[in-house]
Symmetry: C2
Subunit: 176 residues, 2 copies
């Protein structure tokens, strides 16, 4: 269905920020974690800032951080910020209005797709960023996170960023 990873990346970015607590993160740093280009991240951060989920600061010592506490940001907020259209699309071109089915199928489908969208939204509304951080493996952030964790990731770039050849074989799961 969705050929886009926008929601997954947005959740990743914001989870990283929640995990980093008050620390302001650079787009280069986030991009390293997501394994993509910093501009892709900055584009997404602009969208997230428009939806008031993050605040960014230009200039030296700038960066981005969450605009609210992790427990006050739900996955629905993130979904709405980066995935504008509903789960399914309707016909690309309108059906034949002179066919008794064609002229009516749109409203039937709209009812169904609204039900589907509501179901998705109610799942996402019940998960906060705080929950997401909590679901990361417990060993990740026990104590002294700011030093062990975020700072500890800084010097990765030369060593272990996965190379992107063979993209398909490296995707996270059978979903892609």
């Amino acid at each position: 269905m969705s050929t886009s990873s926008r929601f997954a990346v947005a959740v990743h970015v914001l989870t990283l920020m929640a995990w980093a607590e008050e620390e302001s993160l650079k787009s280069d740093h986030v991009a390293e974690s997501v394994n993509t280009n910093p501009v892709v991240i900055r584009r997404m951060l602009c969208e997230l800032a428009e939806s008031k989920l993050v605040v960014s600061q230009t200039g030296s010592m700038g960066g981005s951080r969450l605009a609210r506490q992790p427990e006050d940001i739900t996955l629905l907020d993130i979904y709405q910020a980066v995935e504008s259209r509903g789960v399914f699309a309707l016909h690309r071109h309108p059906p034949n209005p002179d066919c008794p089915v064609g002229v009516n199928i749109g409203s039937v489908l709209n009812e169904v797709l609204d039900e589907v969208d509501s179901a998705v939204e109610s799942v996402l509304a019940n998960i906060t960023l705080k929950d997401a951080v909590g679901r990361l493996k417990p060993c990740v952030r026990t104590s002294g996170a700011k030093t062990v964790g975020v700072a500890g990731m800084r010097n990765l770039s030369a060593t272990a960023v996965t190379k992107r050849k063979n993209g398909k074989e490296h995707t996270l799961s059978a979903r892609n």
Copy 2:
């Protein structure tokens, strides 16, 4: 999200067949209702036949019809037949395995996306093709449907098939 109208078109096609009852429909006829090319319809009918939702007959007097009764086909069956991947995709490239968040975010997301997929599927599982036909405006099929309805649509092609220039303005709703 989904840039595809595959699910919408598949529901349209099968609703048309349910509405036509036992009558076998030609791909040209279906394409006229959907307002697309017959080959697009035949491709989709092949997928639906693989999932045992329709049966097709080649040759003169051929065509396609439902393989089961409308009350025994759910929208979930249709969804699974034409939309293989889940609602959301994961990262296009795997995140940085040396970032404590990157290495764990995949399993967190998979949990969430499974919940979302289940919610969608449970909505779709509770709607049958018979329901969909019933939701078409009641005036559509009151009595003598086979003669008034399906046959009555046959001679449309010259008159009122919406032209496809200005595609965007003509889509069914704000979804697209």
